[in-house]
């Protein structure tokens, strides 16, 4: 529910163009920063994007909700590289008819914000502790805070272009079930990673890639 897969033809042109413009600038700056420093980051972004796509194949059918595990991806990549992964994931989804092609910009922006906000919240809530319990709780809370915010952002964007009618009511009714499942899965997964290989969640590990 974080990204609503806004289809083509729903939003006005100015909003679509604005979404593309912001995304191009954001990702352009990131690519500029990391230009000439080919490193393990390329491979890491690739596998984390693929991991998110795998997670998205796990669906709660009656709700039309699929898991994202975006907070885990954000925690692994950090804020700096998350938008690149978001663009990759949204592009793949759009080419498969899962969200509009023209709104890749907006959908990727929302997903980027989700990854960045989730990553920041996870880091803040976890603090300096590396224990599995703390990591699990921090991950769960990060999801429970991030997903409603990004869903509201998606609805807000949609409302800028059209009368959303009952859409917020539908999402507020169904969304929390998906958010809760996502939060539980994220918390348990992060807790498991913290127990088995805590170094993966270290900031230092993200930077060096070693």
């Amino acid at each position: 529910m974080s990204h609503l897969h806004i289809p083509d033809g729903v939003l006005p042109w100015w909003l679509i163009v604005a979404g593309w413009a912001v995304l191009i600038v954001w990702v352009g700056i990131i690519c500029r920063i990391y230009r000439g420093s080919a490193s393990r980051r390329v491979a890491r972004i690739g596998v984390v994007s693929a991991f998110m796509l795998i997670a998205m194949s796990l669906e709660i059918v009656p709700l039309a909700y699929h898991f994202n595990l975006s907070i885990i991806a954000g925690a692994l990549l950090g804020c700096a590289l998350s938008p690149v992964a978001a663009v990759i994931v949204v592009t793949f989804l759009a080419l498969m008819g899962h969200g509009g092609v023209t709104v890749i910009g907006l959908n990727a922006l929302v997903l980027s914000c989700e990854l960045c906000l989730g990553s920041l919240l996870f880091r803040v809530l976890r603090g300096s502790a590396t224990g599995p319990g703390r990591c699990g709780v921090a991950g769960t809370l990060a999801v429970l805070i991030t997903l409603p915010i990004t869903t509201a952002a998606t609805l807000g964007l949609t409302a800028l272009g059209m009368d959303v009618g009952n859409l917020p009511r539908v999402i507020v009714t169904l969304g929390p079930i998906g958010w809760a499942a996502e939060a539980a899965l994220t918390g348990l997964t992060l807790s498991w990673i913290a127990r088995v290989r805590p170094s993966l969640l270290d900031r230092k590990h993200r930077r060096t890639g070693a």
Binding site: D8, C31, M56, T91, M96, G97, M162, A184
Partner: protein
Amino acid sequence: MNLRDIDTCATGGTGWLHRTPLAAKAGAWLVAIALALTLPANRTGLYALAALILVLTVIAITARLPWRLYATLLAWPLCFGCLFAITCDLDGAARWMLIARAVGVAQASLTVVLTTPWPRLAQVSARTLPRLLSDALIMSWRSFFLLNDRMTALLRALRLRGGLRWRRPLQALAATARAFGTLLLYAMDLADRDWDVLVLRGYDGKFRVGGVTVGVNGETPARPQPGMEETL
């Protein structure tokens, strides 16, 4: 996620559209999208859009695209189109137009994706996108299949051992979390291993895609990098 089926169809298909040059398909794709999005939201526009959808359907049939996969992939834009159309305050023609636009544009994209092997699309992306993004895009395509195989095996093992019983949702959730954790560890090791292999094979920041070495802004570097094609 039907990426594997999409890849099989794109690389193994024998229809006329598979043999059509990518430039022609890309041009037709752009025209179809422009048409779908610019038609007016009235009865005339709706009929024109219905005609476009019909044409795209005929193309899909004559190009021998697997109808089940095609229909499954179209179900998502149809569902989301319906969700927006039903919940938002729209009049009759605008409501149908919204659904038809979502389906029409998705049909156009799927027609290209289902008839063009990914390396060909990656070749275009490598020429136009920044290096970090295009290389990561190529890596994610390859990683997806490796991780997907791993996840399928993990879930099968869990099912066989009784870890995924939907009557016990908490146990199933914990088992799924462990499967994802295991997959993630495998993924990070895979990333490190892939990087080492790329460096050993001479990767210096430019992938060789579809027989053409592509670097930043599409320039061709002097030194070839053998084995890059195999990475794909």
